[in-house]
């Protein structure tokens, strides 16, 4: 079952000869059909890959040391950009929000505005995009190069399942680090907003914090925020590992797979964000 997963994803190149060489309207429709079938087949392969990886993650022996290493790659190494971006976003939100709110004399709700925007949307979404760009691309490139240099084949000859040894720990580390990074992003953003609102703009610190605490609900806001981060982590893990696994055995194919990981992961995060918000995010 796993051998079929290694075939490169035909994706955008369904092969024009197979789709019929006549250039008439029938040929165009046939090409469209072949393209659609290739798309659906690609999705099906990706889904089977996700199932195989999930099973591999659950199957003992658990690779604790591998997981710690991968957490270092995807989590600790992402800390710097996630934290600095969080502070910057919180500061900008406070500055923008203050000027808009001051027009209605509602500066006191600055804490609520900054906190709710960060917790509900910006924290999970921006963390997802940053991690997809930083750690997701690295994940695709690493797995792709391991495949291209026949390291994965070497593991198979030693009866080591690459899904279990390489892909599983990588995917699991992404699932774990995304909610943690998103929480740090959100908290530092709130702190950045506090610095701008209270130190620079002269708002009262107690008013900022009480507005924040009054507006934020555990279940509806913090819970949905963690749910979003976990879903985005799963999406990035899935897309990054699959793209790397089926990239093909050349430097050019691996580099294009890396690019497609970032694009696909970013777009799916934004689409999934809308769906989650529509289902659970609005009271």
């Amino acid at each position: 079952m796993t051998t079929t997963l290694v075939e490169p994803d035909p994706g955008d190149a369904p092969g024009p000869e197979a789709a019929g060489s006549n250039g008439g309207p029938i040929g165009a429709i046939r090409r469209l059909g072949a393209r659609a079938i290739a798309r659906v087949e690609g999705l099906g392969r990706a889904t089977r890959f996700a199932g195989a990886v999930s099973l591999a993650m659950l199957r003992p022996p658990y690779r604790h040391r591998r997981l710690v290493g991968e957490l270092h790659e995807s989590g600790v190494r992402s800390l710097a950009i996630v934290c600095s971006s969080g502070i910057a976003v919180g500061m900008v939100l406070a500055l923008q929000g203050y000027n808009s709110l001051a027009r209605f004399g509602a500066e006191d709700s600055l804490g609520a505005v900054v906190g709710l925007s960060l917790i509900r949307e910006l924290g999970p979404v921006l963390t997802g995009l940053l991690v997809a760009g930083r750690a997701g691309s690295a994940m695709t490139a690493e797995i792709g190069m391991m495949n291209a240099t026949e390291q994965l084949d070497g593991m198979r000859t030693m009866a080591v399942d690459p899904l279990h040894f390489v892909v599983g720990p990588k995917a699991l580390s992404m699932l774990i680090s995304m909610p943690l990074l998103s929480g740090l992003f959100t908290l530092l953003g709130i702190a950045g907003g506090f610095v701008v609102g209270v130190r620079f703009l002269g708002l009262d610190g107690g008013v900022y914090l009480s507005g924040l605490e009054g507006a934020v609900d555990f279940h509806d806001d913090v819970g949905v925020s963690v749910l979003k981060a976990a879903v985005f982590g799963a999406l990035v893990a899935w897309i990054a590992t699959y793209r790397g696994f089926v990239a093909g055995r050349s430097a050019a194919l691996v580099s294009s797979a890396t690019t497609r990981t970032v694009v696909t992961a970013s777009v799916s995060i934004l689409l999934a964000d809308y769906v989650i918000t529509a289902l659970w995010g609005v009271r």
Binding site: V76, L180, G183, L187, V216
Partner: protein, 154 residues
Amino acid sequence: MRSSPARDLAVGLFVLAGLVALAVLSVQVGGLAYTGGGGLRLSASFDEIGSLSERAPVVISGVKVGQVTSVTLGEDLRAEVTLDVDRDLELPVDTFASIRTAGLLGDQFIALEPGGDDELLADGGYLSFTKSALNIERLVDRIVTSFQSGDGAE
């Protein structure tokens, strides 16, 4: 993969910092700690509740002591509101509940004013003395009508 103490420490610190961040967001910001209180469930009926909704605060002299758990239409076609307040509160049976608004247009909440009766409210008790929400639109309407009728008399 080789194990390195420095890397393990970094990963440990990262996981710890992330968990602390989520805990602070949940407890400090999300108000998870508060909803653990309560335990004394009371109900009350109102003619008009305005925009009072679930999770609206319940206060005594401005101090938050609980929250609204449900708002339904009772059998007598009046709004029936269930409150969850601190178990330790010794509220007399003639406690007065009124719906108020924070500021002119702010959120609505329930203010309790303890009465003087010796008998105390038990779990599942019913607040008989209530005052409905002040409807600003109706108030303005009444003022305008009274002005108009005043003009007509002149």
